[in-house]
Structure formats: structure tokens, C-alpha cells
Amino acid sequence: MDLSSTTDPTDRPAPTTAGDGESGSGATERQSVGEPLQFVTFTVAEEAYAVDIMQVREIKAWSEVTRLPNQPEHMRGVLNLRGVIVPIFDLRCRFGSGLTDATATHVVVIVAVADRVVGILVDAVSDILTVSAEQIRPVPEMETRGDKDFLKGLATSDDRMVAILRLDALFDLNELAADGTPESAGTAAEQ
């Protein structure tokens, strides 16, 4: 297994969070220059997104979930995945476009993020995208800072732009949340 992660070009587009946030997605570190990268692409609100294929555990149709008390708005609830309880997040809602009107044709992509397993609700899974690392374009600097943090880069598939997601940043499923007690978060916001 090649561990030459220091030269991984996929990290270059978003240097601000490189290092820290990468702990869970070991899959991207594994790939060296020139080796083709594979992503699972899907659509949310007409837009195309992708996640590293090594992070995808399973793809299943939407089914009823159990709401947890006081869950964040973009969380749909939890699901029983063969005896393991898995939280399901609504990607559309996370992107600020409101809750998905989930039906049986909607799809849940089960992904591994850091040491957790979560599901993301998307409209439809499209394809598997194979690109070389050089073909991934960096995310340009933009007015609003939000997007850049959870995007790893941009790729092109069938003349369409595909945004490659940085899942751990998207759902903040690592230790950051555990440390962010309400008090400390409050003071941080005031500063």
C-alpha cells in the first residue's frame, strides 16, 4: 500500500483544513499521483456531488427512520442497519435548501466518516466517476466561506461539474463536536 500522502494533490485545493480533518478519510491518503481516483456520484437538488468510493459502505433505498429528540435540523433520525444504529442526514437540508421530501425512490448512502458510520439522504445515485488526481480542480476562493470547507475539489463528469465532498467537515462528526460545549461555543461566537 502506497502511503505517499504528503504529495497527495487532492489535498492541495483546500489547504485550510488539510491535516486535521483528514483523519477519517484514509482512503484519499492512500492514493498516489497518477493513480486513478474513484468516486460515487449522486444528485441533490439537481446538483452533482461525489464522495470517495472507499468511504461508501452501502447504498439503500430510503426507509422510515426514528427521530431523535432535539436533533439538528439536517438530521432525519436514526436507522437500524443490521443491528447497528446509524444516524441519517439530509444533504439537501445541510446545503440550506430545506428538507428533502423523502420517498421510497430516494437513496441513502451509508458512508464511513472518521470512526463512525452515517447515512446521507440524496435524491439519486448516478455513477462511479474515475478521474486522475490531476483532473481534480481546486475550489476557487469565494465570497461565502462555508462551501469551501466541506468541498475537497471539483471534477467534471459528462460536461457537468461534480463537487467532491469532504464528509467529515460536512457533518463535523469528529472530536470537535465533543469539545464544543455550549459554553465554549458561546464565547467563541462572541469573539
Partner: protein, 717 residues
């Protein structure tokens, strides 16, 4: 995770077992119930730990176990006498060994100072070993004693000729050793001549490829000591016939007087090691373990694999209940056959489930075995004397419970030693034996495990307890309490009867914490005592923490599980039973008591729930710290056993929810944390901090990221 670290984990797991064996056998030695096998078993345990430690380069562990082993070897050969004092030293050595193994497991700094000191003590005793062969077991001859005596008269640095007869057994190869490497290593010590003995080699047709037929006679001329030669064979010693002696006939041999000494020794040695090898083979057969070919009666399985199995069986139960629901739609002519099949499936599933749960059951021995050391250490520190008697170590409970009972038992034993047992003089004055007795017992009773910790100490001083409780304001000045009520005061927060706070027990973490933790596991703990003759702590726990009894309730269309251990009763209050305080809080009147009402739906901001308790139901629940509360729900769906699933594996902790379970329809239902709910409802009366605490939403988290990311951003701009 490479192979080596996997082997390392296996080795460390084995060490745990070996240390437990060591403890058991040392205790037998201590109590005088030891048989001749006992010392051998102790030696073997230490030897195995040392062998593995060498492989993983745990230097301190190797060095220490080497000294330990050397002494044990001399003891089992009868060259060093086994006295009570020395057994105590062995106990200490086994404690240090356990610490060293622990340090190796955690990768922390090994307690080198303690190890070195003790190693010196061990070596000091080893050096008293008798070398004279008189009045000893034939075993004594096995360790090349004649050779040793010959060697002793030898001048250091003098070149000696060793003759080494080396006949590997098949096990040697199975344990992945290679004679050639050993011979090569001998070559580094000096000049080597090797002669192979082919006499045992059968005809080609009869050769079993995995058997060992060859033997070697090696002549080594070297100025090294015999120990160095023996060390080459250290790891194969048990798997071969090995005889190392000094060939006195060789040129440059010592004085002729030794010759007479050496030759009988040589013969003895050869016989001895043969016999020993046979013994060993027999032992290994008895233990039903060892290399391949031996009968294997147990295997080591990763808990994750068992959990996966448990999960799958759970899913099977759900699938099966789904099938039976759908069967109702079948045409009646095919229904009968189908139902019969389903019933059979149900039986098999149930049995499967029971078998899987049984795999997770373990004897409490693993926890009990840690306690003798605790008793030793604590009594040493307190200057008291006590022995520990354990009963029912084979009692089985679920793995999850095993992990949880260690702390409470430790705490209660400490408590008994510290507060219960009197110092030796006081005991003798009271006509009791100077050595106190702590009895630790376990048994199954009514689907639960009952653990007793009994001491024969002074018992609980009721008047002292009562006086202290009054002083602390736990009891009203004039109130009279029954004896059991007084004893129960020990579990009150912040209570400690000891006049001085020692570092053994009573450092703030009192019995109240023990009780709370045990109740958290769905268990109970109580104490009873009779003045002058002792105290007994009784702890009962469910056999498993993977499953519990729960009441399924509905609030605002959503299902929740309330642990049955929390529930006192359920009721539908009349309108006049519900009262309102000026603050808006509601109270329900139950037989003269007023209990606060807690609306589950409101606590979790669920819409569409019953707003009037007299139209819904009130479940009266009780928790240790927050007392009783009336939980308002819409309806009760019934009681059932539920499998406890962690929410936190894949999600953050949710206030008011302790875990989750999977219902018969495959959907998840949260299990309520009543105490957590009670705290939540208290916070909600003071909105600003309460709001922040109650909503672990995205806003707060985004802020947390922003603040943490900020410094990093600066680095890049």
C-alpha cells in the same frame, strides 16, 4: 494493524490468563493446599510470559521474569526451600510482573525501580540454592547439576569442551523453531563440531513429514559458561531432549577429581530430562492445550465477532416477525403449512439467540482473581491481617457485567478491610483469630447474580453512624431509625464513618457512588451487619447488560422505552389529582404525596401529544439522585425485553436518552434516561443556558468549527 501487533495482542491476552493462573497457584501454595504440580505450574506461567516478552522486546519484563523464573526453577527442584516468607515474596513478584505486563500493554513506563529491587531480592534467594545433590528429588539432577559443579571448579575464561545431545521433538518444529539456527548460534560461542544421529530415521515409506527423526551431538569448544550454552536452547528446551555437559576427557580438562563427579551426573541428566519431557507431554495433554494436535476445548474469539453474531440474530428475529405479519394475507389453504414453518423458525431463532447470548457469558473468576492482590496491598498498608476466601468463581455473567463489577467489588473490599476489620491486637483481645477473613462469593439467584462481600470484623457501629448522619444533617435530630435504615445511611452521599480519611477508602468517592453505579446497571446493593461479628455487603445485578426489561410508551406518536427498573407504577390521574404551582410546574397527588410531572413530549419538543394528564397516562418513576417523578405519556404499549444498542457509536450523546433499542418492526426506539430528563426539566426553568444545553444543533457546532479553524486559517494567509 500488522501481524506483529496482532500477535502482541494475543500475547498480552494470554499474559492476563497466565497471571491469573499464577495468582491461583500462588494462593494454593500460600494456603498449603499445593500439590507437587503447583510449583511447576507457577514456573510454566512465568516462563511463558518471559518467552513472549523476549519476542516483543519488552526488556524490563524479560529481565524481571528471568530472575523470577530462576528462583522458581530452583524451588521446584528443591534446591531452594519454600518458606512462608518466600511465598510472600513470590506474591510481590507476581504483582510486579503484572505491573510490567500492564506497562507493556499500555506502552507506558514500566515500574523499573520496583522491579529492580525485587529482582535483587529474588536473585539473593536464588543464590542460596543448594548445589549439593543430597536428599533431593531426582529432578534435581536434571538441570545439569553435575555439570554445574564441574563448572564451578573451572577457572573463568578457560576453554571447555561441551558435549550437547540435542534431539528435537516434533513440537519444536511446530513452534516454528529451526535446529540449524540454534547450531549457528552455538557457532558464535566457539568452535563447533556437529554429528548427526540418523538412527531414528525410518524408511522413506514410513516417514511422516511432520515428525522429527534427527538428533545431533554437538561438540562445542568455548570459554563461555554453561548458562550461555543453555540460553541458546532457551526457547526450545521444552520441545526437545537436551543434555549439556562438560566433556571432561577433552584436552585442557579440569582436574581428574571432577571426572568421577561428572559422569554419573551426565547419566542422571540424560535420564532426568527424558523423564521430564514425558511428564511435560502428559501435563500438556491434561491441560488440553498447547500445539496443534492437542485437543482444543476452547477458542479465543474477538468480542466484535460475537457482537456481530448477536446483531444478526436480532435481525433474524425481526425478519421472522415481519414474515408472520405478512402471512395473514396468504390464502387459507396455504396458510397452515406456512404457519407451521414459521413456528419452527421461531423456535430455532429463540434457541439460536440463547446460544449466542451464552457465548458472551463468562465466569466471574477473572474479576475475583484480581482481589487477592488488593487484599495483600491494602492489609500491608493498614498493618492489618486478612485472608480472602472466594466462593462461586465459576458463576457466569455476561461479559458486559464482568467489566462493570470489578470497581464496586474493589471498593467494597477496601471498605471492609479499612472500616470493617480490626487491627490484629484488637481482634485477639475480642477472642477472634488475628487474621481477618473476607469472603467474596457469587451465585445465581432468580435470573440475577448475587455477589456477597462478608467480613468478620467489628460490624457497623449504629450509634456512630447515626451520630454522624445527624451531624451531617441527613437525619432529623429527634428521629428514631430502625437498624436497617441506619445501615442504609452508609450509602448516603458524603457519608464516611472512618474517623480519619485514609487513602484506602473514604477519599470522597464513597459508597454512594458505588450504589449509584450499581443502580445505573439495573442492580441493587445493600449492607447488613451484626455488631462484633461482621458486615456483609450484598450486590445483585442482572446477568446481562445487553438486554433489559422496558416499558414501551408513546408520546406524540413517537415510541420510547422506559427501563422497568425505574418504574414504580402507572396510573391515569383524575383531574383533581393534578395541581399547578405558580411557576407553572405541575404536581400529581399520589396517596398524599405530590410528585412533579414531566411531559416527555414537551421535554423533547414533540407536537401532537396529550396535553392533559387525565387523558393520557402517568408513569411514576424513581431515580437514585433525583427521586420520584411522574412521566406524562399518551399511552403504554406494553412491557418487553429490549436489546440495548449504543447511540454513541455513530452519533453524539443525546440529553435524556441513554441508549436505543430495535423494536419488532425493525425501527429504532430511544431508551429514556430518566435522571437525565429530570435534570433537563430543571434547567428549562432558567431559559438562557437551558436553551443552549438542550439544543445540540448545527448552529452551535458550526461556531465550534469556526473558532477552531481560525488559527489555522491565519497560517495560510
Amino acid at each position: 494493524m500488522d501481524d506483529l501487533s496482532r500477535f502482541r495482542d494475543t500475547y498480552l491476552a494470554e499474559c492476563e490468563e497466565l497471571l491469573r493462573d499464577l495468582e491461583t497457584h500462588l494462593s494454593a501454595l500460600h494456603d498449603g493446599t499445593a500439590d507437587s504440580e503447583c510449583l511447576n505450574s507457577i514456573f510454566r506461567a512465568v516462563h511463558s510470559i518471559k518467552a513472549g516478552a523476549g519476542m516483543f522486546k519488552f526488556t524490563e519484563l524479560v529481565d524481571f521474569s528471568h530472575e523470577f523464573e530462576a528462583l522458581l526453577d530452583n524451588m521446584r527442584d528443591g534446591r531452594v526451600e519454600v518458606t512462608a516468607e518466600r511465598v510472600d515474596l513470590l506474591f510481590k513478584a507476581s504483582d510486579v510482573l503484572a505491573d510490567l505486563v500492564g506497562a507493556a500493554a499500555e506502552g507506558s513506563e514500566p515500574p523499573a525501580a520496583a522491579a529492580n529491587m525485587l529482582a535483587k531480592d529474588l536473585a539473593a534467594i536464588t543464590s542460596t540454592a543448594k548445589t549439593a545433590p543430597e536428599a533431593n528429588t531426582p529432578d534435581q539432577a536434571t538441570r545439569g547439576d553435575a555439570g554445574t559443579s564441574a563448572e564451578q571448579s573451572r577457572q573463568p575464561g578457560e576453554t571447555v569442551c561441551y558435549r550437547i545431545d540435542f534431539y528435537p521433538a516434533a513440537e519444536l518444529f511446530r513452534h516454528a523453531n529451526e535446529p540449524l539456527l540454534l547450531i549457528r548460534e552455538l557457532k558464535t560461542l566457539g568452535e563447533v563440531e556437529v554429528e548427526v544421529d540418523l538412527s531414528r530415521l525410518p524408511d522413506l515409506q514410513q516417514i511422516e513429514p511432520e515428525n522429527a527423526y534427527l538428533g545431533w551431538t554437538i561438540t562445542l569448544r568455548s570459554d563461555c559458561g554453561q548458562d550461555a550454552v543453555r540460553e541458546v536452547f532457551e526457547f526450545v528446551e521444552d520441545d526437545c531432549r537436551l543434555d549439556i555437559h562438560i566433556d571432561a576427557n577433552d584436552a585442557g580438562s579440569p582436574a581428574p577429581s571432577e571426572e568421577t563427579d561428572a559422569s554419573p551426573g551426565r547419566r542422571n541428566g540424560a535420564e532426568g530430562s527424558d523423564r521430564k519431557q514425558a511428564d511435560r507431554a502428559a501435563e500438556e495433554g491434561q491441560a488440553a492445550k498447547g500445539g496443534p494436535g492437542a485437543r482444543i476445548s476452547s477458542i479465543r474469539v474477538d468480542l466484535d465477532r460475537v457482537d456481530r453474531l448477536v446483531n444478526m440474530v436480532g435481525e433474524l428475529v425481526i425478519t421472522q416477525s415481519m414474515l408472520s405479519q405478512q402471512a395473514d394475507d396468504l390464502p387459507s389453504d396455504r396458510l397452515i403449512q406456512f404457519t407451521r414453518g414459521l413456528e419452527e423458525l421461531a423456535t430455532h431463532t429463540r434457541e439460536l439467540q440463547e446460544s449466542v447470548m451464552a457465548i458472551r457469558m463468562q465466569p466471574v473468576k477473572s474479576v475475583f482473581a484480581r482481589m487477592p492482590r488488593l487484599v495483600r496491598e491494602v492489609t500491608d498498608k493498614l498493618g492489618k491481617r486478612a485472608r480472602l476466601v472466594t466462593i462461586g468463581e465459576e458463576t457466569e455473567v455476561d461479559k458486559t457485567v464482568i467489566e462493570e463489577i470489578s470497581d464496586p467489588i474493589t471498593h467494597m473490599i477496601r471498605n471492609s478491610l479499612d472500616h470493617g476489620l480490626e487491627p490484629p491486637e484488637e481482634r485477639e483481645a475480642a477472642g477472634k483469630p488475628a487474621d481477618g477473613t473476607i469472603t467474596l462469593s457469587a451465585e445465581h439467584r432468580g435470573g440475577r447474580i448475587v455477589i456477597n462481600i462478608r467480613d468478620d470484623g467489628r460490624g457497623i457501629d449504629h450509634s456512630a453512624v447515626l451520630a454522624r448522619a445527624r451531624e451531617r444533617g441527613l437525619v432529623a435530630p429527634g428521629a428514631e431509625l430502625a437498624p436497617d435504615e441506619i445501615e442504609d445511611l452508609l450509602f448516603e452521599p458524603g457519608f464516611s464513618t472512618a474517623a480519619t480519611v485514609t487513602d484506602i477508602s473514604g477519599r470522597g468517592v464513597g459508597l454512594d457512588v458505588v450504589r449509584r453505579n450499581i443502580q445505573g446497571l439495573g442492580g441493587r446493593v445493600s449492607v447488613s451487619s451484626s455488631p462484633g461479628s461482621g458486615t456483609c455487603f450484598t450486590m445483585t445485578l442482572p446477568l446481562t447488560l445487553a438486554v433489559m426489561d422496558g416499558m414501551i410508551v408513546v408520546a406524540g406518536g413517537e415510541k420510547f422505552v422506559i427501563p422497568t427498573t425505574n418504574i414504580i407504577e402507572s396510573m391515569r390521574p383524575g383531574r383533581d389529582q393534578v395541581n399547578r404551582l405558580p411557576s407553572g410546574d405541575e404536581l400529581v397527588e399520589v396517596r398524599g404525596d405530590y410528585l412533579p410531572l414531566l411531559y416527555i413530549a414537551r421535554a423533547f419538543s414533540i407536537d401532537g401529544a396529550v396535553d392533559d394528564p387525565s387523558h393520557g397516562l402517568v408513569v411514576l418513576a424513581e431515580t437514585e439522585r433525583k427521586g420520584r417523578v411522574g412521566l406524562v405519556v399518551d399511552e403504554l404499549l406494553g412491557q418487553q425485553q429490549v436489546v440495548i444498542k449504543s447511540l454513541e457509536d455513530n452519533y453524539d450523546p443525546v440529553p435524556g436518552i441513554s441508549a436505543a433499542t430495535i423494536l419488532g418492526n425493525g425501527l429504532v426506539a430511544p431508551i429514556l434516561d430518566i435522571e437525565g430528563l429530570q435534570s433537563m426539566s430543571q434547567i428549562s426553568t432558567s431559559p438562557p443556558p437551558g436553551l443552549a444545553a438542550a439544543i445540540p444543533g448545527g448552529v452551535r457546532r458550526t461556531d465550534a468549527i469556526a473558532s477552531i479553524e481560525q488559527p489555522e486559517r491565519n497560517q495560510w494567509t
